[in-house]
Symmetry: C2
Subunit: 81 residues, 2 copies
Protein backbone atom coordinates (compact mmCIF):
# COMPACT_ATOMS: atom_id res chain seq x y z
CA UNK A 1 0.00 0.00 0.00
CA UNK A 2 1.28 3.49 -0.75
CA UNK A 3 0.43 6.99 0.47
CA UNK A 4 1.38 9.96 -1.66
CA UNK A 5 1.52 13.25 0.24
CA UNK A 6 1.53 16.64 -1.53
CA UNK A 7 2.87 19.52 0.57
CA UNK A 8 2.58 23.05 -0.83
CA UNK A 9 3.11 26.50 0.60
CA UNK A 10 -0.05 28.32 1.69
CA UNK A 11 -1.10 31.24 -0.48
CA UNK A 12 0.48 34.48 0.66
CA UNK A 13 3.61 32.79 1.99
CA UNK A 14 6.74 34.03 0.16
CA UNK A 15 8.50 31.40 -1.97
CA UNK A 16 12.10 32.55 -2.60
CA UNK A 17 12.93 29.23 -4.26
CA UNK A 18 10.03 29.64 -6.67
CA UNK A 19 11.11 33.20 -7.40
CA UNK A 20 14.66 32.06 -8.18
CA UNK A 21 13.34 29.40 -10.59
CA UNK A 22 11.06 31.92 -12.25
CA UNK A 23 13.96 34.34 -12.78
CA UNK A 24 16.16 31.53 -14.10
CA UNK A 25 13.47 30.45 -16.59
CA UNK A 26 13.13 34.08 -17.67
CA UNK A 27 16.87 34.49 -18.18
CA UNK A 28 16.90 31.24 -20.18
CA UNK A 29 14.44 32.79 -22.59
CA UNK A 30 11.21 31.11 -21.40
CA UNK A 31 8.85 34.07 -21.45
CA UNK A 32 5.24 34.00 -20.33
CA UNK A 33 6.04 32.55 -16.89
CA UNK A 34 4.09 34.60 -14.34
CA UNK A 35 4.77 32.73 -11.10
CA UNK A 36 6.46 29.55 -9.84
CA UNK A 37 5.62 27.76 -6.54
CA UNK A 38 7.62 24.79 -5.30
CA UNK A 39 6.33 22.07 -2.94
CA UNK A 40 7.11 18.48 -1.94
CA UNK A 41 5.82 15.06 -2.93
CA UNK A 42 6.38 12.43 -0.25
CA UNK A 43 5.77 8.82 -1.29
CA UNK A 44 5.35 6.52 1.71
CA UNK A 45 5.41 2.76 1.16
CA UNK A 46 3.39 1.10 3.91
CA UNK A 47 3.12 -2.49 5.03
CA UNK A 48 -0.20 -3.96 3.93
CA UNK A 49 -3.02 -3.43 6.37
CA UNK A 50 -1.32 -0.72 8.37
CA UNK A 51 -1.29 2.15 8.97
CA UNK A 52 -4.50 3.65 7.46
CA UNK A 53 -5.39 7.16 6.26
CA UNK A 54 -5.85 8.64 9.73
CA UNK A 55 -2.29 7.62 10.63
CA UNK A 56 -0.96 9.24 7.44
CA UNK A 57 -2.82 12.42 8.36
CA UNK A 58 -1.17 12.27 11.77
CA UNK A 59 2.26 11.83 10.10
CA UNK A 60 1.58 14.92 8.01
CA UNK A 61 0.49 17.04 10.97
CA UNK A 62 3.33 15.94 13.24
CA UNK A 63 6.27 15.75 10.82
CA UNK A 64 5.79 15.95 7.08
CA UNK A 65 4.13 19.37 6.80
CA UNK A 66 4.62 22.61 8.71
CA UNK A 67 0.91 23.34 9.06
CA UNK A 68 1.59 26.99 9.93
CA UNK A 69 2.96 27.70 6.44
CA UNK A 70 2.04 24.64 4.38
CA UNK A 71 -1.07 22.85 3.20
CA UNK A 72 -1.08 19.10 2.55
CA UNK A 73 -3.26 16.59 0.75
CA UNK A 74 -2.64 12.86 0.41
CA UNK A 75 -3.95 9.90 -1.48
CA UNK A 76 -3.81 6.28 -0.41
CA UNK A 77 -2.84 4.27 -3.47
CA UNK A 78 -5.03 6.37 -5.65
CA UNK A 79 -7.98 8.07 -3.80
CA UNK A 80 -7.44 11.81 -2.92
CA UNK A 81 -8.34 13.10 0.64
CA UNK B 1 -3.09 28.55 -17.48
CA UNK B 2 -1.07 26.43 -15.09
CA UNK B 3 1.47 23.65 -15.47
CA UNK B 4 2.10 21.32 -12.54
CA UNK B 5 5.42 19.45 -12.74
CA UNK B 6 6.15 16.37 -10.58
CA UNK B 7 9.85 15.57 -10.19
CA UNK B 8 10.81 12.30 -8.45
CA UNK B 9 14.04 10.42 -8.01
CA UNK B 10 14.56 7.50 -10.41
CA UNK B 11 14.31 4.06 -8.89
CA UNK B 12 17.65 2.85 -7.56
CA UNK B 13 18.88 6.35 -6.74
CA UNK B 14 19.60 6.68 -3.00
CA UNK B 15 17.31 9.09 -1.12
CA UNK B 16 19.01 10.14 2.14
CA UNK B 17 16.25 12.66 2.84
CA UNK B 18 13.61 9.97 2.49
CA UNK B 19 15.61 7.68 4.75
CA UNK B 20 15.85 10.40 7.41
CA UNK B 21 12.08 10.95 7.29
CA UNK B 22 11.45 7.21 7.51
CA UNK B 23 13.67 6.91 10.57
CA UNK B 24 12.01 9.95 12.17
CA UNK B 25 8.54 8.47 11.61
CA UNK B 26 9.76 5.21 13.11
CA UNK B 27 11.17 6.94 16.20
CA UNK B 28 7.88 8.83 16.58
CA UNK B 29 6.08 5.51 16.86
CA UNK B 30 4.61 5.26 13.34
CA UNK B 31 5.33 1.63 12.56
CA UNK B 32 4.61 -0.10 9.28
CA UNK B 33 6.51 2.47 7.18
CA UNK B 34 8.70 0.50 4.74
CA UNK B 35 10.13 3.27 2.58
CA UNK B 36 9.86 7.03 2.01
CA UNK B 37 10.80 8.86 -1.23
CA UNK B 38 10.75 12.64 -1.51
CA UNK B 39 10.29 14.64 -4.72
CA UNK B 40 9.23 18.11 -5.87
CA UNK B 41 6.02 19.67 -7.12
CA UNK B 42 6.58 22.77 -9.25
CA UNK B 43 3.49 24.84 -10.05
CA UNK B 44 4.09 27.21 -12.95
CA UNK B 45 1.53 29.94 -13.65
CA UNK B 46 1.67 30.83 -17.34
CA UNK B 47 0.26 33.72 -19.29
CA UNK B 48 -2.74 32.57 -21.33
CA UNK B 49 -1.90 31.19 -24.75
CA UNK B 50 1.80 30.75 -24.09
CA UNK B 51 3.89 28.74 -23.62
CA UNK B 52 2.42 25.31 -24.44
CA UNK B 53 3.25 21.78 -23.27
CA UNK B 54 6.36 21.41 -25.41
CA UNK B 55 7.86 24.52 -23.80
CA UNK B 56 7.11 23.13 -20.32
CA UNK B 57 8.85 19.88 -21.30
CA UNK B 58 11.83 21.97 -22.41
CA UNK B 59 11.81 23.83 -19.05
CA UNK B 60 11.87 20.46 -17.28
CA UNK B 61 14.73 19.08 -19.35
CA UNK B 62 16.85 22.23 -19.15
CA UNK B 63 16.25 23.39 -15.56
CA UNK B 64 13.53 21.87 -13.42
CA UNK B 65 14.65 18.22 -13.40
CA UNK B 66 18.07 16.60 -13.36
CA UNK B 67 17.24 13.98 -15.98
CA UNK B 68 20.26 11.86 -15.00
CA UNK B 69 18.77 11.11 -11.56
CA UNK B 70 15.18 12.30 -11.76
CA UNK B 71 12.01 11.51 -13.68
CA UNK B 72 9.38 14.15 -14.37
CA UNK B 73 5.77 14.28 -15.46
CA UNK B 74 3.61 17.37 -15.87
CA UNK B 75 0.01 18.29 -16.43
CA UNK B 76 -1.28 21.43 -18.07
CA UNK B 77 -4.22 22.68 -16.00
CA UNK B 78 -5.34 19.14 -15.42
CA UNK B 79 -4.39 16.65 -18.23
CA UNK B 80 -1.36 14.40 -17.38
CA UNK B 81 1.52 13.90 -19.93
Amino acid sequence: MKATVYVTLKNGIADPQGLAVRNALDSMGFDGVKRVRIGKIIEIELEDGCPDGSKVEEMCRSLLANTVMEDFTFEMSGEKR
